[in-house]
Symmetry: C2
Subunit: 348 residues, 2 copies
């Protein structure tokens, strides 16, 4: 479901130019503004509008208040033959995450797998932006990020973990990659807000009221519940914990439950110390590039040719919907909501 109503459509290059300009205006360094724009446009291009150019207002605000460092010095330190740590210095997260993934790819070329931990970062937008890059270099990759508390534990009565996304891309010969990008909650909190404004009931087992009881009443919903729903939320909570440990405890970032939230005005000038964890894997060091490519083709062929419950909705691989939407938007343009149009100073 798309949260955007009352939108205008813009070609990617026009939009991209305006986003860079606006971020620089807010004090970002040019290369940082470019990287952030690239990540936002990735999400907008494939239809993930919640993490697309809509976020520019959020980043502009934090750049202006100092919640995001306008002049960070990113420092990458190689800590082992296959590992590195990256200090994002409180700046925009996107340049740091692109750099971390790029370093992981370089390490993987040397050692077969490369891993970079990122700390003192901020909200990195759509996790998928970074893995798609690594796929272009022939690497399988994963990235994850912790975030401030928004999701309860299984049976917990308050938010504890962030929505802690996990993204992975696997290259496919002559095609877009296999591509997943999922939060470890069932829905983002934006969805709750959308259901509120539409007067709709939430699905079961996705959100809780302030006492921690699962609720379908969007107005009563106070925080999210982990993926898996009422019976199996312990699995989603474990996956959120996996991210909290690898991207948080292991990198030196803030732990989810004590991380500063950015939604409240009194926190606008505080730094979050978000953590990310990037992994790149070279198929050449396992079954070999050619055999891997053949296996991926066969896997996707089997997947897409299988029967679906609803004949009108064929089974899709992760990413198929997104790449299809990217084609549509290359023609029709990218939808931008009215508030963001104002922030970007776009012509309507």
């Amino acid at each position: 479901m798309n949260a955007i109503t009352n939108v205008h459509y813009y070609p990617e290059d026009v939009l991209s130019h305006q986003v860079i300009t606006r971020l620089i205006q807010a004090g970002a360094q040019e290369t940082d503004a470019e990287a952030t724009t690239r990540a936002l446009i990735h999400a907008s291009r494939i239809g993930v509008d919640s993490h697309g150019v809509r976020l520019v207002g959020h980043y502009v605000r934090l750049l202006q208040t100092g919640g995001i460092n306008r002049r960070p010095t990113i420092i990458f330190e190689r800590t082992g033959p296959a590992t590195g740590q990256l200090n994002a210095d409180g700046g925009l997260a996107h340049p740091a995450a692109y750099l971390a993934m790029n370093e992981a790819v370089q390490l993987a070329r040397e050692t077969g797998i490369g891993t970079v931990g990122v700390h003192h970062s901020s909200h990195f937008g759509a996790a998928g932006a970074y893995v798609v890059e690594a796929a272009r270099h022939g690497m399988i990759s994963l990235i994850m990020s912790n975030s401030d508390a928004a999701v309860s534990l299984f049976g917990g009565a308050q938010p504890f973990h962030g929505t802690n996304p996990i993204a992975m891309a696997a290259p496919v010969k002559n095609s877009d990659p296999w591509f997943m990008d999922i939060a470890t909650s069932s829905i983002p909190f934006n969805r709750v807000k959308l259901y509120r404004s539409l007067g709709l009931q939430l699905p079961t087992g996705v959100a809780a009221n302030s006492a921690g009881h699962s609720t379908q009443d969007a107005l009563a919903a106070s925080f999210l519940q982990p993926l898996g729903g009422e019976g199996f939320g312990f699995k989603g909570a474990a996956l959120a914990g996996l991210v909290a440990i690898l991207a948080g405890a292991l990198t030196g970032a803030a732990l989810d439950p004590v991380m500063v939230g950015t939604d409240e005005e009194q926190n606008y000038q505080k730094r979050q110390n978000v953590g990310h964890f990037a992994i790149a894997i070279d198929p050449a060091r396992f079954v070999g590039h050619v055999t891997y490519e053949l296996a991926m083709n066969r896997y996707l062929e089997l997947l897409r040719s299988g029967p679906s419950v609803d004949p009108l909705h064929p089974v899709m691989a992760p990413g198929d919907r997104e790449w299809k939407e990217a084609k549509r938007r290359a023609t029709n343009g990218i939808p931008v909501d009215f508030e963001t149009i104002q922030i970007l100073g776009l012509k309507v």
Copy 2:
């Protein structure tokens, strides 16, 4: 819920001795029998009876029919500074998985992260057995395995992925590790069989009838649905795909949808070519051992002290329930069902 009724209790060492003896009797090499027993006892010890000594009958049958190679030669090949491939030669999976994890740990000591792909393996039991080992060496680790088709895709009308488990352990100073071991379906098919025999309704969104429609009727349930349930099964399907790619396509194992199943008699003598993927990560190469340990302690302290919805059921970290059960069973013994008692020739 525990599938075991009509059980007797045995001390771990007695049970362990009988399982080794029975596997050797069925033709397994001594070191293989020892490794398999260790993995089965791990699961039985922590209360995961579905993957405990109950499985010995399954392995005995496949050893006898040749579905599992009685005299495998496991070959490990280092393929890069941080990577290796392990050919399990169609033997019992447990020695191969332990060896793969051990090699990953050695690699991680050298390079910071070590990764081993395993192919031509078989069913490795509880994924958790292997990560717990790595935690004893101070390493964070993950292991995953693909398996034969049992779980539909999101909107799919037939089984496609295996239950494809993901396990992770993270060492905790002076304590049992943080420890998760989850299938990427909501439930295992054993649970469906248990509900059938108990005449109970299944939870919603966990299984489908032969047409692929979600059903709560255990008798009508034909295959499983991915974690996330009716609205969010695309996330579970993506996670199952992550495992299918890393443990399957990348290692040279059979792909889930075309892997031989071991439940049907006509397949008893066929080899599955299951794949696993093991990763070990050295905290020393990231934030450093001491800071990592402090962060994990703080994380778990925050987690366990948080409010729960039901005051009688405090919030737990992944693994807490299992380590508690292990203590109980160290005193009370391990429950064994009647059929397994017969297979093992245990005294009642």
